[in-house]
Amino acid sequence: MAELLTLARPYAEAAFKRAKETATIQEWAEALKFLSVLAEDRDLLTIVDNPRVGKDNIARLLLDICQDNISTEAKNLVRLLIANGKLSLLPKISALYEEHRAEDEGYVNVDLFSAYPLTKAEQNKYSAMLEKQLHKKVNAVVTVDKALLGGILAKAGDKVIDGSIRGQIHQLAKRL
């Protein structure tokens, strides 16, 4: 997993830089999301992984599927990835692209886990708190997780802020 990320990094960086230059950040994001869904498709994978199918054929097939959904530049990226045999990197490239975008636009994607469904007001309150903590705009996605028992748990990248009852019980157990 780690190695794939390393391989995907230069592609994602290049894609993002190009998108910024041409002011097509949103389009690129959509194109990459579309492509990563394609690249994970089981039927398509059997063709891509088949050594008897030539690179040209794969390119033609993929670009046919894409049609006008993606820009010419994105199509060029697909050709490049096929030529380098790195088509499987697409989901990673998409994820890294999103990271670049979030950083550039100054917000963080936060997964908010709560034991009970949150009202709009509560969600805003937590978002404001997190913004203060992380010094960035917060883009929160709320998930209900009964296992937390109470309170909330926020995950931003690999940073975790644990305010749940479950976390506190764990802390207490460790202390005892």
């Binding site: 997993m1 780690a2 990320l5 390393t6 903590q133 995950k155 990248g157 690999d158 940073k159 975790v160 802020i161 644990d162 305010g163 976390g167 506190q168 802390q171 207490l172 202390r175 005892l176």
Partner: protein, 513 residues
Amino acid sequence: MQLNPSEISDLIKKKIENFDTHLEAHTEGTVVSVTDGIVRVHGLSEAMQGEMLEFPGGSYGMALNLERDSVGVVMLGAYQHITEGDTVKCTGRILEVPVGEALLGRVVDALGNPIDGKGAIETTLSSPIEKIAPGVIARQSVDQPVQIGLKAIDSMIPVGRGQRELIIGDRQTGKTAIAVDAIINQKGTGIKCIYVAIGQKRSSIANVVRKLEEHGAMAHTIIVVASASESAALQFIAPYTGCSMGEYFRDNGEDALIIYDDLTKQAWAYRQISLLLRRPPGREAYPGDVFYIHSRLLERAARINAVEVEKLTNGRVKGKTGSLTALPIIETQGGDVSAFVPTNVISITDGQIFLETGLFNSGIRPAVNAGLSVSRVGGAAQTKIIKKLGGGVRLDLAQFRELAAFAQFASDLDESTRKQIERGQRVTELMKQNQYAPLSVAEMSVSLYAANTGFLDNLEVKKVRDFESALLSFMKTDEAALMAKINEKGDFNDEIKDGIHNAIERFIKTSSW
């Protein structure tokens, strides 16, 4: 301490009352792969080098390789239950071990947990295992002796407080025996001892512990164990653990002696970890920093001055210097001291005690090779009387070695050569000493004086040791006052010289050996 159930529940209640709930913020990662005690974790962008990482199931790991997307972690203890996808938490702490007086008399593992079945260790103090050695300003030169209690070592290769003296030799040459004798001889001197056993059989460690208990030496000793069955990570950190425990005494203005038995095995453990972490192998497949693991460890053995002690104890201890003396042990293969790790450690230490299989097998025990063994700083620390009397012994042995080849044709030799050879044979015989029988300064002085002044020359070589033991027991009973005086001060003057001389003459008249 026996607690009844109601007390236990009270204790828990109190802990729950005092438990402050705070938001816990930490960095998390996911396990990507688990191989031979090495775990690769994705994420953990804020992990520090050497940081403790918490795994599910209460196990811990130490971050050793920090890479762009992942962290290479070496597991401390069991790792069989860890699976791909497990979450790993940063703790924000570098690995720490308990330190303090409470550890004396205990046997602990590489993480400082007691393994002797004597209950928990009552100490609140802890110290990180990796620390930077004292600086130049904090140090003081070595000028007090550590008495090992072996004639061959104290007279020819003296060790001072704060010195690093390597014990090197093949397997089965008595390296550990010297170390154990050194610990036994520290009884009542105030020097605290730490014995770090790395990669040894548990049975050998149990033997050492039993011997120390038999000789009443456990009370001032801590034993740190990372046996052969424990993970390479624990074998790698055990010396640092022991060193931190020793530094506690050093920093509190006391003297401590630490024995690393042995650093070859630590280097092996580190080689294993490094290769599994895919660090590039170098000479003998050791990683590039194998010198540094030993140099940073041994550099922490030092003597620090009173000012530094006062600073470290916040003024609690005044006017006392502190020291940590290290006796690292290196096992050579077939007497090859030019292998990678032996040459490294020889160059780091302040001298070496070189033990030889040949000598050991010919009955010279301790099997110290007096020619190859040196002590670079110990001379300044030697007790006056031993320094005065030991010089002659060293010279006698050096001359003897040169002439030893002629010993076979003794009949054709001139008078003075023959005398030198005979003196050498007797001194060699005198340097033999039983295990677990360390000698005091006074006892050693009497033996050395007898050899220097030629009292042994008229004896049969076979009789030398009988003569010595009879002489020493005579001195103990008839000259107790003189012996106590020598032990107290360690000075050498005409009065003491005459005292010893007359006593030996009186003993010879009894011819009771």
